[in-house]
C-alpha cells in the first residue's frame, strides 16, 4: 500500500513537470526579433554583361549583351548579339552591372579596382574573330576590360567570355589569353553567337 502511494505521488510530480514544460515551451517564444526586418542585399550578383564594340574607323557601335535581372533562377536570361562587320577592327569594352540595385551597381569598377585578381578570357570557335587585350594591371598583366577585336572574312561561330577571379596570371600562356592553366574560379562564363558578315 505504501508503495502505491509513493507511486501516485510520483505520477503527480511527473505530470506537473510535464505540464510545466509544455507551458514553458509554448509560452517562451523569443520576441526580441520575431521576424527578420531587412532582406539581405545580394551584393556580388552580376545580372548584366554588355560587350560594346566601337568600329575604329566608322565609330559605329555594336553590342553583345547578357541580362538576367532576377539573378539565378526565376526567369531565364536573355542573350543578344549584333552581327559584326567583316574586316572591321573594334575597340571592345566590357561593362558589368548589378541591376537588382537601384541605381544599378557597376561591378566592372570592382574588377578594375582589383585588376590584378581578375582576367577575362575570350574563346572563339569557328568565327573569324580575334580578341587582343588592350589594358594591363599594375604588374603589366592583361585584364580584359578593354580590348581590340578584329574581324576577318564573313563567318559564324561562338565566343565564350570567361571572367576568372584570382587566376594564376603568371602560368604559361595565361597572359596571352590562354585559359588552360589559369586556375582561379569562374565568376562569369557566357557564350555568345557570333556572326561576321
Amino acid at each position: 500500500m505504501k508503495r502505491l502511494t509513493t507511486k501516485t505521488k510520483t505520477m503527480k510530480k511527473l505530470s506537473f513537470v510535464t505540464l510545466a514544460f509544455v507551458l514553458l515551451a509554448t509560452a517562451c517564444k523569443k520576441d526580441d526579433d520575431p521576424e527578420p526586418m531587412q532582406p539581405e542585399n545580394e551584393e556580388e550578383v552580376i545580372t548584366t554583361m554588355i560587350l560594346t564594340y566601337i568600329d575604329q574607323m566608322t565609330m559605329a557601335q555594336k553590342q553583345m549583351t547578357f541580362q538576367d535581372l532576377d539573378g539565378d533562377g526565376g526567369n531565364a536570361p536573355t542573350i543578344t548579339a549584333d552581327a559584326l562587320d567583316a574586316g572591321a577592327t573594334y575597340d571592345l569594352t566590357i561593362l558589368l552591372l548589378n541591376e537588382t540595385e537601384t541605381p544599378a551597381d557597376t561591378i566592372s569598377n570592382e574588377v578594375a579596382d582589383e585588376d590584378d585578381e581578375h582576367q577575362f578570357f575570350f574563346q572563339v570557335a569557328n568565327a573569324n574573330l580575334s580578341v587582343d587585350y588592350a589594358d594591363m594591371d599594375g604588374n603589366g598583366d592583361p585584364v580584359g576590360l578593354t580590348n581590340v577585336a578584329t574581324c576577318g572574312a564573313a563567318s559564324t561561330g561562338t565566343m565564350t567570355v570567361t571572367l576568372r577571379h584570382q587566376p594564376n596570371k603568371g602560368a604559361a600562356g595565361v597572359s596571352d589569353g590562354d585559359i588552360m592553366n589559369a586556375g582561379g574560379e569562374t565568376d562569369i562564363e557566357v557564350t555568345f553567337d557570333v556572326v561576321v558578315q
Binding site: 514544460f21 526579433d33 531587412q38 539581405e40 552580376i46 538576367d68 533562377g73 574560379e185 569562374t186
Partner: protein
C-alpha cells in the same frame, strides 16, 4: 541467475574488449544497497577475490575501488548480517555498479543491475571505444575516433572536416549526444562538422540501431554518445595532460584535465578541461594541401554536488574553431570542376604555411548544462537535464570588392533543451523509463553578409514523450517502447521579389521499439531489435534556393517534404570460441526508409557563371542493409589479431538503382604484440583496405568513384609509472608507406588526394 545478470553487464559495457593487457588503472564505483528496502549498507567491504586489494564503503554505502587490471575481475562484497556476494566483471574501462545484498539467509539471489550511465537501449547493438582506443586517437576528431568501430566510416570535406557515417547514414541521420544533450550545431551540409572537443569525453559509445524512442528525432542510422567520466567525489586533486605532436600538418594538440573532490566537502566535486590545437597545412604524398590548417581552443568547467538522495551538477563549455578549406576546391562553376577533375592535381599548391586564408570557417559553440537527480525511493529516480547551446558559424569566402573580410554565411543558432526522465522499477522483473523532452530553437541570420541566406530565419519548438519498459524472463530480457513527438517551425524568408514569406510547418511522429536479449552461459549473446525512427526535413532541405558554392550545383529545397521514416531491424550476436581465445561479433541490419530525402538532378540552368546542374530535394523509398563483422583472436598471451569488416548496400526502391554516397566495402586487419606480461611495451600494425565503390547510380556524380586503396598504420607504446602517476608514450605512423589515395566519401576527392604519412607522438601524463 547471477551469471546471467553479470553477463548482461559484461556485454552491455564491453562489446569490444579488443586489447588484452593494459595498466591496472581502472575503477569500479557505485553503491552497496539492501536488496529489500534499498537502504544504503554503510561500511560494506569490497575485495578483489583472492587478494587483499579492497575498500570499505562510506556511510552512504558508496564505494570506489581503484587499481583494477583490465580483464576478468572478481569482487566479493560483504556486510555484517548479509550473505556475501560475488560478481565477475570484465574490466575494459571504469565501471559503475551497484551491489544489492540480501539481509536474510536465503538462496543466492538475483542481482539487479542499475546501469546509471550511459543510458542504454537494451536490445540495440552497441559498441564502446576502449580506454586504449580513446588514448590512441588523442588529437583526432570525434568522427575519426569512431571509425575504430566496425560499421562506422567518415564523410569528409578535405582533411579538416569530417562527419561520422553509421551504416551508410550521416549528417542529420546520425544523432550526436554530447554529455546527454543533443548536439545542435548547424549540420546543414556535408561541410559542417560536429563542433565537439573529444577531450571533453571519456566514454564514446555508438548505438547502431534506430533509437528514436529514447533519443528523439534524427536517430535513424544510429547515435553517437560522448560522456565524461564520473566526478571524483571525495578524492584528491588529480587529472591528466595530453601532448600530441603530428608531422603532417606540423602541429599538435595539448589538453589538460584537472579534477578533484574534497575529503571535508565530500559531496562536492569539480572538473576543468582546456584544449588547444594548432595545425598548419596538411600534406598529401605528392603535394601540400594548401589552406587546410586548423585552430581549436576549448574549455569546460563542471561543478557537482551529490548525496545519496539527490544531486546536481552544472557544466559550462565553449569551443572556438577556425579552419581552412582546401583552396583548390574553391571553384566558380561546372567548367572549373571539370577542369579540376581532369587535371587530377590541385591548381593551388603553395609552400607549407600555418596561415589560414579564405575560404575558411569560424565557429564558436557554447554549451551550458544543468542536471539534477532525485531518488524517489532506493531504485526509482527522476532526472532533469537542461541544456543551452549557442552556435555561431561564420564562413568566409573569396570575394570581390574587398568583401573577403565579411562572412558570406553568418548564422546564429540558439537551442534550449529540457529532458525529464523517470526511471522506475515497478517489480523485480520490470524496469523502465518514462520521459519528456522539449526543445526550443532559434536561427538568426546576422545581417550584412551581402549574400542571400541559405538557411532561413526560424523559430522551432518540439515536445516528445516516451515510455520504454524492460521485462526479464528466464533466458530473455525483452524490451518495448514508444514515443510521440510534435515539432512546429515558423520560418521567414525573403523571396526573389524581396517580400517576406512566412512558412509554418508541423510534423507529428510516432516511434516504436521492440527487442530482446538472449544470453547463454558460455558468454554468447544475441540482441534483436526492431525500431522505427523519424527525421523531419531540415531547413536546408526545405529552403535551399540557388547555387551551392563548391558543389557546382544549384540546389532547390522543397517545403512540401514529409518527415523521413525508418524501420531498422538489427540482429547482433557474439560468440566466444576455442575457450574464449576467439571472440566473434556480428551485426546484420536492414533499414527500410519511407520518404528518404535526397538530391535528384533535374536539369540544367543557365546563369552568368555558365550552365549548372539543378538538383531538387525529392523523396523516395529506400532500403539500406549490411553486415559488420569483428573477430578478435588472442593467438598467444603476446599476440593478438583482430579483423573488422563492414559492408553496406543502399538501394533506391522507386528508381530501382543504387543510392549515391554509400560507403564502400572495407576490411581492417590488425595485429598487436605485447612484449611480456610484466612489460607495458606494446607494438601493433594495422592494414586498412577500402574497396572501390561499384554500386552507385550512373551519370549522377561529376566523377566516377575513386579506386580501392590500402593504408598501413603502425604504433609502439609504453607506460612508465611514477608511483601513483604514470606517463604513457606512444609513437605511431598513419599511412606509413605514404600511399596515394582518395576516398569515395571525401567531397574533395575531385580536387586532391588524401593525407600522406603522418607520424604522431602522443604523451599522456596522468596524476593524482
Amino acid at each position: 541467475m547471477l551469471s546471467r545478470a553479470t553477463a548482461l553487464l559484461l556485454v552491455a559495457l564491453c562489446c569490444n574488449a579488443v586489447f588484452a593487457q593494459d595498466e591496472c588503472l581502472f575503477r569500479i564505483s557505485g553503491y552497496v544497497l539492501d536488496e529489500h528496502d534499498r537502504s544504503p549498507l554503510s561500511f560494506a567491504g569490497i575485495v578483489e577475490a583472492g587478494t587483499t586489494h579492497g575498500v570499505i564503503a562510506d556511510v552512504d554505502g558508496r564505494y570506489e575501488l581503484d587499481g583494477l587490471c583490465p580483464g576478468k575481475v572478481t569482487l566479493v562484497v560483504s556486510h555484517l548480517g548479509c550473505e556475501p556476494d560475488t560478481v565477475r566483471f570484465n574490466v575494459t574501462k571504469d565501471l559503475n555498479y551497484n551491489f544489492f545484498l540480501e539481509h536474510h539467509h536465503e538462496h543466492l539471489k538475483e542481482i539487479q543491475v542499475v546501469a546509471d550511465k550511459p543510458d542504454q537501449v537494451l536490445s540495440q547493438d552497441q559498441h564502446e571505444l576502449t580506454k586504449e582506443q580513446v588514448d590512441r586517437s588523442a588529437g583526432k576528431s570525434v568522427a575519426d575516433m569512431m571509425e575504430a568501430i566496425p560499421g562506422v566510416s567518415t564523410l569528409n570535406t578535405g582533411p579538416t572536416i569530417s562527419k561520422p557515417v553509421v551504416h551508410g547514414m550521416y549528417g542529420n541521420r546520425v544523432l550526436v549526444l554530447n554529455n546527454g544533450i543533443r548536439q545542435e550545431d548547424q549540420q546543414w551540409g556535408t561541410e559542417h562538422a560536429p563542433n565537439i572537443d573529444p577531450f571533453g569525453g571519456q566514454e564514446f559509445l555508438l548505438i547502431k540501431g534506430a533509437a528514436a524512442v529514447q533519443y528523439g528525432s534524427d536517430a535513424i542510422g544510429g547515435v553517437v554518445i560522448m560522456e565524461p567520466a564520473d566526478l571524483p567525489f571525495g578524492q584528491k586533486v588529480g587529472g591528466h595532460t595530453f601532448l600530441v605532436g603530428e608531422s603532417n600538418g606540423r602541429g599538435g594538440t595539448a589538453n589538460l584535465m584537472l579534477q578533484g573532490g574534497s575529503r571535508k566537502w565530500k559531496h562536492f566535486a569539480w572538473r576543468g578541461t582546456l584544449t588547444g590545437k594548432y595545425m598548419g597545412d596538411r600534406e598529401a604524398p605528392d603535394y601540400v594541401l594548401s589552406n587546410t590548417g586548423i585552430r581549436d581552443l576549448s574549455g569546460s568547467a563542471t561543478l557537482g554536488y551529490e548525496k545519496y538522495q539527490w544531486g546536481a551538477n552544472v557544466t559550462i563549455s565553449s569551443l572556438q574553431t577556425e579552419l581552412g578549406i582546401l583552396r583548390a576546391a574553391h571553384i566558380g562553376n561546372l567548367t572549373d570542376l571539370e577542369n579540376a577533375i581532369e587535371r587530377g592535381e590541385p591548381y593551388y599548391i603553395e609552400p607549407f604555411t600555418y596561415e589560414i586564408n579564405n575560404p575558411r570557417q569560424q565557429i564558436a559553440h557554447t554549451t551550458a548544462r544543468a542536471e539534477a537527480f532525485y531518488r524517489i525511493n532506493e531504485l526509482d529516480q527522476i532526472t532533469a537535464l537542461y541544456g543551452w547551446q549557442h552556435n555561431q558559424r561564420k564562413e568566409f569566402d573569396i570575394r570581390r570588392g574587398g568583401r573577403s573580410d565579411r562572412p558570406a554565411v553568418d548564422l546564429d543558432l540558439e537551442t534550449h533543451t529540457l529532458d525529464v526522465t523517470y526511471k522506475h522499477f515497478p517489480s523485480k522483473r520490470v524496469r523502465g523509463k518514462v520521459g519528456v523532452s522539449g526543445m526550443l530553437q532559434y536561427n538568426r541570420n546576422i545581417p550584412g553578409t551581402g549574400v542571400r541566406p541559405l538557411i532561413p530565419f526560424y523559430n522551432l519548438w518540439s515536445v516528445g514523450v516516451y515510455l520504454i519498459e524492460q521485462y526479464k524472463l528466464a533466458d530473455w530480457e525483452l524490451e518495448v517502447g514508444g514515443r510521440y513527438d510534435t515539432r512546429s517551425m515558423e520560418a521567414y524568408k525573403f523571396d526573389q521579389n524581396r517580400e517576406l514569406v512566412r512558412t509554418d510547418l508541423t510534423y507529428n511522429n510516432f516511434a516504436l521499439t521492440v527487442g530482446g536479449v538472449r544470453k547463454w552461459e558460455n558468454g554468447s549473446e544475441m540482441r534483436l531489435n526492431a525500431g522505427t525512427a523519424f527525421r523531419p526535413p531540415n531547413p536546408s532541405e526545405l529552403f535551399s534556393e540557388g547555387l551551392h558554392h563548391g558543389a557546382a550545383g544549384i540546389e532547390e529545397g522543397n517545403v512540401d517534404l514529409n518527415a523521413e521514416n525508418a524501420l531498422k531491424i538489427t540482429v547482433a550476436g557474439s560468440i566466444p570460441l576455442f575457450k574464449d581465445k576467439v571472440q566473434l561479433h556480428g551485426t546484420a541490419y536492414f533499414n527500410q526508409m519511407a520518404d528518404y530525402i535526397y538530391l535528384e538532378p533535374t536539369g540544367t540552368r543557365l546563369t552568368i557563371r555558365g550552365a549548372f546542374p539543378v538538383f531538387e530535394y525529392k523523396q523516395t523509398d529506400a532500403r539500406l542493409y549490411g553486415l559488420d563483422l569483428q573477430l578478435t583472436w588472442n593467438i598467444t598471451m603476446k599476440w593478438q589479431y583482430e579483423c573488422k569488416a563492414a559492408f553496406v548496400r543502399g538501394w533506391d526502391l522507386d528508381a530501382s538503382d543504387w543510392l549515391i554516397y554509400m560507403p564502400s566495402d572495407r576490411v581492417d586487419n590488425s595485429i598487436t604484440y605485447t612484449v611480456s606480461k610484466n612489460s607495458t611495451w606494446k607494438f601493433g600494425a594495422a592494414s586498412q583496405f577500402v574497396a572501390r565503390q561499384v554500386r552507385y547510380p550512373r551519370g549522377v556524380d561529376f566523377a566516377d568513384p575513386p579506386g580501392a586503396y590500402h593504408l598501413v598504420n603502425v604504433f609502439a607504446e609504453t607506460t612508465i609509472p611514477f608511483g601513483k602517476n604514470y606517463l604513457k608514450v606512444s609513437l605511431s605512423a598513419d599511412n606509413l608507406f605514404d600511399t596515394v589515395w582518395r576516398d569515395y566519401l571525401d567531397r574533395f576527392r575531385y580536387y586532391a588526394d588524401g593525407m600522406g604519412r603522418n607520424i604522431v607522438l602522443r604523451l599522456k601524463y596522468s596524476f593524482q
